[in-house]
């Protein structure tokens, strides 16, 4: 009992640290012009944060703005604004939330005006929509642009041709543009230092994510996981802040693990773990807390998720490597989850089902995101066939509140949990009969 306040302090430290980092980045963005800082807008999967840092540029991530606005219930209005301006109701709501925000004055999630980017850096990784989003932003900002085309792992592997192509683009297209816009000369040793810090943080992140193999799991790898991946997926990979954040987080989770505690939820510690799930697909952001509640109220813990691999897949062994700086950046971009072909995604989920001793697979299929969603019904079938464990399929959206139907999702989840119970009961009776 005497240790509980200490654990509370450690937990608070990591959360406070992250909050301070995010707030700090938004503050820097807001004062970028006054401070003479250049700003690059880029996307999460395949981002080149360590490289951007070499040029003292600030990193603004449109997806993160959309997520933050979604959690603050602002995106519904932004999406409607974009649709009024001719954007189809059928396309990605991250894009429309971003364009709607720009149309309404480009006021960021924290209520301050975001700066126009000096450079648009498109890492075209795992998602076709990024390319169009980037072109739409370019139309708005009319600024310098750099395109990094990352080939898709169509045959489920990274080839030398792919790595060489990405490295050449980084060396001959991206770096010269970063130099030109920032006025800072590229220093590869600085990049190596940043990459070394990334690898340290990645090591701790993987440890945290893999702690969910324990029973009970000390973390929720989806709802909690989105917080854990925050720093490393965004503007902080390669920073000392990220190293510190993951060190604190690892210590916090280590203590929970040692005590046999379950995950922290918005309602406090989860008292008992009844269901262990693997989740495929991004969460809904506009009703994030309500969505999470549907799980923790039932004692359902997500022990592994694919969404927490969308901005970098580290648990298969990849680490940024200071000895191979550009190659390592290329391999990172090529290895992000949605850049893997469907068979490779299914293999990964099957591995998670096995290694994390999951009771089943839940797919949250996102209307906006064809990169994730197209083929998910086959993913479900394949996983059920290979593991014999039940799967469930729900539908929602990223940041469009019109596509989150709580009653339907709750009903579906409750039925699913009953199915898991029945499957377990069936298994026990079969064992007794044998």
């Amino acid at each position: 009992m005497t240790n509980i306040p200490a654990a509370q302090t450690i937990k608070d430290s990591s959360m406070l640290k992250q909050k301070e980092m995010i707030t700090g980045n938004y503050s820097k963005l807001e004062t970028a012009a006054a401070d003479g800082r250049k700003v690059v807008a880029t996307f999460v999967p395949g981002n080149l944060n360590e490289l951007i840092m070499c040029f003292d540029m600030l990193n603004n991530l449109p997806e993160i703005n959309a997520i933050q606005n979604g959690m603050r219930k602002k995106t519904g209005g932004y999406i409607m604004e974009a649709e009024k301006r001719g954007h189809s109701e059928d396309v990605c709501t991250y894009v429309k939330a971003d364009l709607g925000m720009i149309a309404k004055g480009n006021i960021g999630p924290d209520g301050q005006k975001l700066p126009d980017p000096d450079l648009l850096l498109l890492s075209y990784t795992g998602c076709f929509t990024f390319m169009k989003w980037f072109e739409l932003l370019r139309e708005q900002y009319k600024c310098e642009t750099a395109m990094l085309h990352v080939p898709y792992q169509g045959d489920g592997q990274v080839t030398q041709n792919m790595v060489s192509y990405v490295v050449k683009q980084i060396r001959e297209e991206v770096i010269p543009k970063l130099e030109r816009v920032s006025g800072v000369k590229f220093d590869i040793d600085r990049l190596r230092e940043n990459l070394a810090r990334s690898a340290r943080a990645e090591e701790d992140l993987v440890w945290v994510l893999e702690s969910a193999k324990a029973k009970p799991s000390p973390i929720d790898a989806y709802f909690g996981g989105v917080y854990y991946i925050g720093p490393i997926f965004t503007a902080f990979r390669g920073t000392e802040d990220a190293v510190e954040y993951y060190r604190l987080l690892r210590a916090e989770i280590g203590e929970r693990l040692a005590r046999g505690q379950g995950p922290v939820t918005p309602a406090g510690d989860m008292p008992s773990e009844r269901y262990r799930l693997v989740v495929e697909g991004p969460p809904n952001w506009t009703s994030f807390r309500d969505f999470w509640k549907m799980f923790y109220e039932e004692g359902a813990v997500v022990v592994a998720s694919t969404y927490s691999k969308v901005g970098g897949l580290y648990d298969l062994g990849f680490r940024h490597d200071p000895d191979r700086p550009l190659e390592s950046l290329a391999e990172y971009c090529l290895g992000c989850y949605t850049n893997r072909n469907l068979p490779a995604r299914i293999d990964l989920i099957e591995k998670y089902m096995d290694e994390y001793q999951a009771d089943g697979l839940l797919i949250n299929s996102i209307k906006s995101c064809n990169s994730f969603s197209a083929g998910q019904l086959l993913v479900l079938r394949e996983i059920e066939r290979r593991t014999g464990k039940p799967g469930a399929f729900i539908e929602s959206d990223l940041v469009d509140p019109r596509y989150f139907s709580p009653a339907n999702i709750k009903n579906r989840l409750e039925s699913y949990f009953q199915m898991v119970d029945q499957r377990r009961a069936g298994g026990k009776s079969a064992a007794r009969a044998a």
């Binding site: 076709f128 085309h149 041709n161 050449k168 469907l342 197209a374 998910q376």
Partner: protein, 390 residues
Amino acid sequence: MSTTTTEIIARCQALFDDLNFTYAREWKAAAPGRIVVGYMPFYVPRELIHAAGGLPLGVLGGGEQLEVIQGDAYYQSYICRIPRSTIELGVTNRLDFVDAMLFPSICDVIRNLSGMWKIMFPKVRSRYFDVPQNYRDDVGGEFYIHELNELRDMLAEASGRPVSDDAIRVSIALYNENRALVREVYAFRARQPWQAPSAEVYLLMRAGMIVAVEEHSRMLREYLAAAVAENRPRRDNSRVVVTGAFCEQPPLNLIKSIELSGCYIVDDDFMLVNRWERSDVAEEGDPIANLADAYLHNSNDTSAKYEPDQAKKGLYLVEAVKRTRAEGVIFASPSFCDPALLERPMLQHVLAAHDIPYIAFKYAENSGQMQPIREQAGTFADSIKLWSNP
């Protein structure tokens, strides 16, 4: 006796209607060692398939005739129809003679379908065919040459014989001839659209997705000769470019409805692969390098391709309007089509800046109700006649 347009188009219609692909089955059975390679929109280098002794078979979904039953079980309601009807073609054994399938880099749905194909049809060679979004010879060009060589190796494996440089050169020459004829048909229609109704041109181009290139070139020649010779009534229609329909195809009735409502279609992007290269691919020298060069520097624009220069964004559509003396643009896009629908506002801004009128609607390959389309296109045609500058 020369062939009439009616006879040619009747043959094209029969090919279009045949979802068992009898022509391709018979072509394959006619000689040992032949392979059939299916491909989806928007582009694959068909020359390599031909050089491997193969028949490139355009797989453009199931159209309006195919009842999709099993295919729907693989897709959510918010995903377009072409992947579900393509799966339906696969699971109902309509493509069971196809030796390999190619899935070009057009969007996330088709990209993911490439992986689904590997799982669902493991005996069929399937490949996601990537193309560069970087157009420098020493960067994107080198990557693409490597990709082309990997495809060449896969085709050689499928056909059981090497694909020689000489064979590729011969194929390039045949496709150059074919593309020149395609361009000629399009130019003819743009000059005299009443002589080459769009439904006919569509079916003629669609035949090129199925029949051997040599035969398609003959059909094109015959059609041009027959269309010139016929005397058809000229209507006071507005001239329009149709854009956005480069993947999932509109129902044939939709194309007919646009013309019936008072619009001559003078350019379109229905089957880009037929005229992807703007002029001939070089026939001398390294044929793989020539194909790469054509893609990088001499290919058409579409939303699946990155435009590095903001100043040039969408100008291809303005140029198409000017080249064909069109008076407006119809954005006809499949529902849930990311490339077409994300691109649309940018293209519309460019058209507005050039004072070119446009309308937009969506369709699915099995859309059945044409009255709203007819009303919208008819109103557009009338507005052009009434309000546009002479």
